[in-house]
């Protein structure tokens, strides 16, 4: 399986993602933002970081970069596109995913482990994961998911909520909401479920000695599902 990680100026989780993808069997290639074409891929990843210094709005400049047209074409043809953290912000700025990530409610940069509840397994990203709750890492200043009421209804009706912040038992209530996100949303799909954007970093949880292993479950499922 071939994957491509796009590098923007200011991306800083691109190499972690490269290590994670390779560990679980992907043949990964790194693609520069100024390129126009993406080589044949089964998965495109927009990594975390601070693309273009978070200028204007997080992800807004990357959302208009040269490479993005290829990413949009790939996504619209049904290809799997995964955006983590800043990658999620970029996906909302391109319009591939609805809504936007606002500044965290309490103005703090949050860097900690959290639990997220898998809300929909009828997709390639979570299909064969046996657990319902995963422990992953978040590190962001703008992770407060927001969209209009109509959009929220449509997201809920179409099963587009992918993961929500919760406690270790899976209670995804306001008490377990780190950043003010609507409905505790930590990640969403597009309607066809081939595009996933999420704030938590699975690539940081692939080594039991350094962090945890729930990210491994994510990547193991991904390569098996493709």
């Amino acid at each position: 399986m071939k994957s491509s990680v796009i590098i923007f100026p200011g991306s800083n989780c691109d190499r972690d993602m490269d290590v994670a993808l390779k560990k679980f069997g992907f043949q990964n290639q790194m693609i520069w933002h100024n390129d126009i074409k993406i080589p044949k891929s089964d998965l495109i990843v927009l990594p975390g970081g601070f693309s273009y210094g978070d200028y204007l709005r997080c992800g807004s400049i990357a959302g208009k970069s040269k490479i993005i047209k290829s990413v949009i074409d790939f996504a619209n043809s049904g290809g799997l596109v995964l955006g983590i953290c800043n990658g999620f912000q970029i996906l909302t700025e391109t319009g591939l995913l609805p809504g936007i990530l606002l500044q965290n409610k309490y103005l703090n940069f949050i860097c900690k482990n959290v639990f997220v509840k898998i809300k929909n397994k009828e997709n390639k990203y979570f299909k064969k994961i046996k657990k319902e709750v995963l422990e992953l890492h978040i590190a962001h200043n703008e992770g407060n998911y927001f969209c209009s009421k109509d959009e929220l209804k449509s997201i809920e009706d179409n099963g587009q909520i992918a993961v929500t912040y919760c406690d270790h038992e899976g209670n995804d209530d306001e008490k377990n909401n780190p950043n003010g996100a609507l409905k505790n949303i930590a990640g969403i799909f597009n309607k066809d479920k081939n595009i996933l954007g999420m704030m938590p970093h699975p690539e940081r949880m692939i080594d039991p000695f350094l962090s945890g292993e729930d990210g491994s479950l994510f990547f193991e499922n991904l390569i098996e599902s493709l």
């Binding site: 709005r57 208009k64 936007i100 407060n144 927001f146 003010g180």
Partner: protein, 77 residues
């Protein structure tokens, strides 16, 4: 010609920075400040002498890049 644009958050969208500024102003004895909403201001030099054309272009810029219409409104001055 120069075109000026102000981008502001829509009503109802949380503005934690504005809130922090308001609280700081209150702490500085500006007790009558009840709300602050922070926005963005752009000075755009367009190589175009026709004002209508320039503003039309800037409006496109606002829709496509300068403002995110999910949360922001723009005002071309």
């Amino acid at each position: 010609m120069k075109v000026k644009v102000i981008v502001t958050l829509k009503n109802g969208v949380l503005d934690p920075q504005g809130k922090a500024i308001q609280q700081t102003l209150n702490g500085m004895a500006f007790n009558n400040v009840s709300e602050v909403r922070q926005g963005k201001y752009f000075d755009i030099e367009v190589n175009e002498s026709d004002e209508g054309k320039a503003k039309f272009q800037v409006e496109e810029m606002c829709k496509k890049l300068l403002a995110n219409l999910v949360i922001e409104d723009y005002n071309i001055l």
